[in-house]
């Protein structure tokens, strides 16, 4: 039901004098429609929604309290009691994965959204306007990409304090550089197309051209980059938690679990495998959704009955 609402019908229906009915929808609305036809993408979508719901309703779903230690059941292999086994404190891994989704998903989604937004905006401004704007942004990219991210994260932590919002800032405000660089290059290439000139001829301003014409044409690249960055961010969150930014024990996150499990990989591989699989499923879902989106956004593939 809620899912249906996501695709709320926004079509404008116009009754023509002749009585024929025309359903009009724009590029994006159209893309959503095509996306809905893509089996794989829709499954991924449901998986992601399930993951988000799992995160939201973690207390209802998780069989155990994720922080509850059970000293007599340390490092248990998967069993009927603990489906994914327990960790070095005897905590239920499944419950921790369920709770961990809260942190890891929000990092993957929100921090990446920040990075992408900044990256795409700055990258396209640099690419489209060129000249001084490009010079300033490109140098900014070089500076931002060259100083150690960890220092930035630490500075954020000591200036703004720990906390998940600041974690997003630490990840998002550095992660944008690679996005910006790639987008800049593509925009530089795309802006020479004649349809851009056509829009200029109608009085289209820079921002309009960037958002209406250029970005839709680099969406597939953006999507790929997003899906590449999500797992990296999820793991990066864990290392920042080590430095004090973000969540602290006993709060669970997938990255932190994997890092903790590293020491036990030989004798207790299950400890790192399950959170690893959680990340993989997330990434897989994002990727397939991304691929589906990519195809949906490419009108030339419109009629190939996508997704099989």
């Amino acid at each position: 039901m809620g899912i249906k609402n996501l695709f709320k019908k926004r079509d404008l229906e116009i009754e023509l004098e002749t009585g024929e009915e025309i359903i009009y929808s724009s590029f994006y609305e159209d893309a959503v429609k095509r996306l809905k036809k893509n089996k794989f993408a829709m499954i991924s979508m449901y998986v992601l929604i399930a993951l988000v719901l799992m995160a939201i309703f973690a207390p209802l779903i998780a069989p155990y309290d994720p922080a509850e230690q059970d000293v007599y059941n340390i490092m248990q292999k998967p069993s009927s009691e603990h489906i994914f086994g327990t960790d070095e404190f005897g905590r239920d891994i499944l419950s921790r994965i369920i709770y961990g989704a809260r942190i890891s998903l929000s990092v993957g989604i929100i921090a990446e959204a920040i990075a992408i937004t900044i990256g795409v905006i700055l990258g396209s401004i640099a690419g489209y306007f060129g000249g001084k704007a490009d010079m300033i942004i490109s140098r900014l990219i070089e500076i931002f990409a060259s100083f150690p991210q960890i220092l930035f994260a630490l500075a954020i932590m000591f200036v703004l304090g720990p906390g998940i919002i600041n974690l997003f800032i630490a990840i998002g405000f550095v992660g944008w550089t690679s996005v910006a660089r790639v987008i800049r290059g593509q925009i530089m290439q795309l802006k020479e197309k004649e349809y851009v000139e056509a829009s200029i001829a109608s009085g289209g301003g820079g921002m309009r051209i960037i958002f209406k014409h250029l970005i839709p044409n680099c969406l597939s690249t953006i999507i790929v980059i997003v899906t590449l960055n999500i797992p990296a961010d999820i793991m990066y969150e864990a290392s920042l938690s080590f430095l004090g930014l973000g969540v602290q024990p006993p709060t669970a996150s997938w990255g932190a679990m994997i890092n903790a499990a590293r020491a036990y990989i030989r004798a207790n591989p299950h400890y790192s495998i399950f959170p690893g699989i959680a990340i993989m499923i997330t990434v897989l879902a994002f990727n397939m959704l991304g691929d589906g989106l990519r195809d949906a956004l490419d009108p030339k593939l419109k009629n190939q009955g996508g997704g099989n």
Binding site: R34, K37, E192, E194, K300, L301, K302, N303, Q304, G305
Partner: protein, 327 residues
């Protein structure tokens, strides 16, 4: 020399879109002898380009050849393997595309793109290929070809790009040349030169040509036969002279009437009323019926068969026995 080079039988090319099947070409047949030129005319969207692409088997998704035969030199091209098709393309059948800007690769110089063809099919070395390319560019009247050969498509004017496309297609002396609006972007002087060039090719190496154009003047200049298409169907097919002098089909007639001529003092041009039907939900009966001034009930009910009137084939009820009956 009356041997048939190309014979197309009941070609059907459909686009299987999400919204339904678009019958871009529906049951078209024609044939082409060696050294002969066939003009294809018709309203925009009537399936001219798709016919050409079907022959080359370069249809874009979701387009598919849904039926018919394309017999080239006695063999059905539809049965050829990909590899065999590759040997034929560019070498034996060449095509000039309609969209010169997007049909040229923006990141290679035009020289590179023409040479590619020459090197592939003529086994020349780099230097010879380059010379040949310059020669070809000269042939299509590109000024200063030695310099222009190293330029990129975006540095050329629309007409020049078109000429580059032509040079590319002509470079291997193909047996069949398909020209999709080759002179659309060209001014009259260049157009005349190109047409001359094509005619020369025809007489020198006996190339057969399919000339797709909306310009009836051009058709009358270069071709012997003409096929008039409308909404994916062949409407009229016959000798150019006959058709232009005495068009049988009402559509052909209307087409000819709407050409602006210099002598014409009339301010408003005559037009064909109405619109080309949507290829998806096509009207019953003759596709042209809704716009036809002679249309009768029968036209709206069923599709007429092709009738042969003194070598001039036409798809119209007017020339069927039934027409009189209705009267």
């Amino acid at each position: 020399m009356s041997e048939k080079l190309l014979q197309i039988n009941n070609l059907k090319t459909y686009f299987f879109t999400d919204e339904g099947v678009v019958r871009a070409i529906d049951d078209v047949s024609f044939s082409l002898k060696r050294g002969e030129t066939l003009g294809i005319v018709g309203e925009s969207g009537s399936g001219k380009s798709q016919t050409a692409l079907s022959i080359m088997q370069l249809l874009e998704n979701p387009g598919k050849i849904a039926g018919g035969e394309i017999i080239f030199e006695g063999k059905n091209l539809l049965n050829k393997t990909k590899k065999e098709m590759r040997k034929i393309r560019g070498n034996e059948i060449a095509m000039i595309f309609q969209e010169p800007m997007t049909s040229l690769n923006p990141v290679y110089t035009i020289g590179n793109q023409i040479m590619e063809n020459i090197k592939l099919h003529q086994k020349l070395n780099k230097k010879e290929a380059r010379e040949k390319t310059i020669e070809m560019l000269k042939l299509v009247n590109i000024p200063a070809p030695e310099k222009r050969i190293d330029e990129y498509p975006h540095q050329m004017s629309g007409g020049m790009r078109q000429r580059v496309m032509i040079a590319m297609a002509l470079s291997c002396n193909p047996k069949l040349l398909i020209c999709d609006e080759p002179t659309t972007a060209l001014d009259v002087t260049i157009q005349a030169q190109i047409l001359t060039l094509i005619n020369q090719l025809k007489s020198k190496i006996n190339t057969s040509i399919i000339m797709i154009t909306h310009d009836l003047g051009v058709v009358s200049q270069v071709s012997e036969n003409v096929l008039v298409m409308y909404a994916g169907k062949a409407m009229e097919y016959g000798k150019v002279k006959n058709i232009f002098k005495s068009p049988l089909h009402p559509y052909t007639e209307a087409l000819i009437r709407s050409i602006p001529t210099i002598g014409n003092k009339q301010r408003r041009l005559s037009v064909i009323k109405g619109m080309v039907p949507n290829l998806k939900n096509r009207p019953e009966g003759c596709l042209f019926a809704p716009r036809c001034e002679y249309a009768k009930d029968i036209c709206k009910k069923s599709m007429p068969e092709i009738v042969d009137i003194k070598g001039q084939k036409v798809r119209c009820w007017k020339y069927c026995a039934k027409w009189q009956e209705v009267e």
